[in-house]
Amino acid sequence: MPCHIRITLFEGPLELLLALIEDRKLDVTRVSLAEVADQYLAFLSAERDRIDLANLASFLVIASRLILIKSKMLLPVLEFTDEEEEAIEDLEIRLAEYRKFREASLGLARLFERGSRSFPREKFLGAPETFSPPKGLTVDVLARQFENLLGAIPSKERIIEETIEEVMSLEERIATLQDSLRVRAQMTFRELAAAGNRMEVIVSFLAVLELVKQRFVVADQGDAFGDIRISVAERESAVFF
C-alpha cells in the first residue's frame, strides 16, 4: 500500500486518481480504476475535512463513479444503466484528457524556466503626458461605472452556500446509488440461483465472497441450508464518508 500519497497534495480528484494509477505503473483502464478505487475512497474518507470545500463536490462525483466500477468488478453480472455506463466511459476519457494537459503544463513550465522572455515597449514611450480628457466625462459617469463594478463582485457567502448545496445533493445521489446497487445485487443473486446454472451460481458465490471480503456487501444465511441474503453493507456510507 503506497501510503505516502496524501490527498492534501492533490487539488482535484483526477489528479489523485492519476497519481494512484501511475503509482502502480498502470494504464488508465477500467481494471486499473477498480484496483485503485478502494484507495481513492479511503483517502477521501480520511481527509475529507482537509479538502477545499470548492473541490469536495468534484471528489464526490468521481467517488460515485468508482463505486460503480468497483461493484461491477466484484459482481460482473451486475447490469449498468446507460447513464452509468456513460458516466464511467466519461471518466476514462477525462482522465486521458487531463493527463495530456498535465503533460502540457510541464511543457509550459519548461518554457517559463528557460527564462528567455520577450519585453514589450511601453506605449508612446518618451511621448509627453498631455491632458487629453475624453468627451462626456462627468462625476455621474464615474459613479455609475464604480457602482457597476461593485455590483459585479460576487458575494463570498453566496458562493459558499451554493457549494454546500451542491455537495449535499451529491451526497444524496451517492446514497441513492448505493441503495440502488444493494437492490440490484440482491436481485441478481436470486435470479442467478433460480436460473439453475451450477457454474454461474458458483461464480456468483465466489463474487459474493469477494464482496464480503471487501466489506462491500454482507452475506446473511438465516440457517444452515436457508437462502443466502446479500446486501450492500449498511455501514458502507460510513466507510466512505
Binding site: R94, F112, P120, F124
Partner: protein, 211 residues
C-alpha cells in the same frame, strides 16, 4: 498607393509603416485597426506582417513580431532576455503553481475556453487559478457570446512574451493538443458564432484597451 510603385514596393512600404506604428504604440494592435489607420486591406496588413516577421528572423535583429488572434505587437527577441532584464531592472516574474500552470495550459491550447470547460478537463474548480492568471495579465477574458453569464478565456500577449514565443503555434505539441476530438462538434458550432464576436473591432480607431 496604386499609381506609383509595384506591388512589392507597396508591401514593403506598408510593412515599414506598420513597424513604425507598432514601435510607437508598444501595446498590441489589431490588424483591423492597422488596416484602417493605413487605409489598406487587412490582407495587405497580413502580408506586411509576414515581411516583418521574416526580417526579424535575422540574427542581428533584437526584435520579434508577436501575433495573437487578430492582433500583433513588436517585442524584444527572447534570446536577449537576461540582458534586457538587467537593463530594465524589472523584477523577475514569480513562478506559477502546478494548478495555475494546468489552467494556463488548457487556455493556451484550447482558447477561447469557458471556466466550466476548464473545470471539466481538470475535474476541479479552477477559479483561484483563473483569478491569479487574470491579475497577472497572463490571460484575458471576454463575455461568452453564446452565454453572457459566462466568460471565455484566452492567452494574452503577456503570456506569449513570458514564454518567449511569437505565436501560440510555437507551443509544444500545439497541433495535437489544440484539437479535442470529442468536442469537435461543439467547437465547430461555436465557431459559427464568431462573426458576432468582432464587436471589439467595430471601431478601427477605438482606443479600447480591454486586452
Amino acid at each position: 498607393m496604386s499609381e506609383t510603385g509595384s506591388t512589392s514596393t507597396d508591401a514593403a512600404m506598408i510593412a515599414s509603416r506598420i513597424e513604425s506604428i507598432l514601435f510607437t504604440n508598444g501595446e498590441p494592435i489589431t490588424r483591423k485597426r492597422l488596416a484602417a489607420v493605413l487605409d489598406v486591406s487587412e490582407d495587405s496588413v497580413r502580408e506586411a506582417a509576414g515581411i516583418l516577421r521574416h526580417r526579424h528572423e535575422d540574427d542581428s535583429s533584437g526584435l520579434i513580431l508577436i501575433e495573437l488572434d487578430d492582433a500583433m505587437e513588436l517585442s524584444t527577441a527572447p534570446k536577449n532576455a537576461s540582458l534586457v532584464e538587467s537593463f530594465v531592472a524589472k523584477d523577475r516574474e514569480e513562478g506559477l503553481g502546478k494548478a495555475t500552470l494546468e489552467v494556463l495550459s488548457v487556455i493556451a491550447y484550447r482558447a477561447p475556453v469557458t471556466r466550466s470547460e476548464i473545470d471539466a478537463i481538470r475535474g476541479v474548480n479552477s477559479s483561484f487559478a483563473l483569478r491569479n492568471l487574470l491579475l497577472r495579465g497572463l490571460i484575458e477574458r471576454e463575455t461568452n457570446p453564446l452565454d453572457t453569464r459566462e466568460y471565455r478565456y484566452s492567452p494574452s500577449f503577456r503570456m506569449l512574451e513570458l514564454l518567449g514565443i511569437g505565436s501560440v503555434s510555437e507551443l509544444p505539441d500545439h497541433a495535437s493538443l489544440s484539437s479535442d476530438e470529442r468536442a469537435a462538434g461543439l467547437v465547430s458550432a461555436s465557431e459559427e458564432v464568431k462573426p458576432d464576436d468582432s464587436e471589439s473591432g467595430s471601431d478601427p480607431l477605438s482606443a479600447d484597451d480591454d486586452r
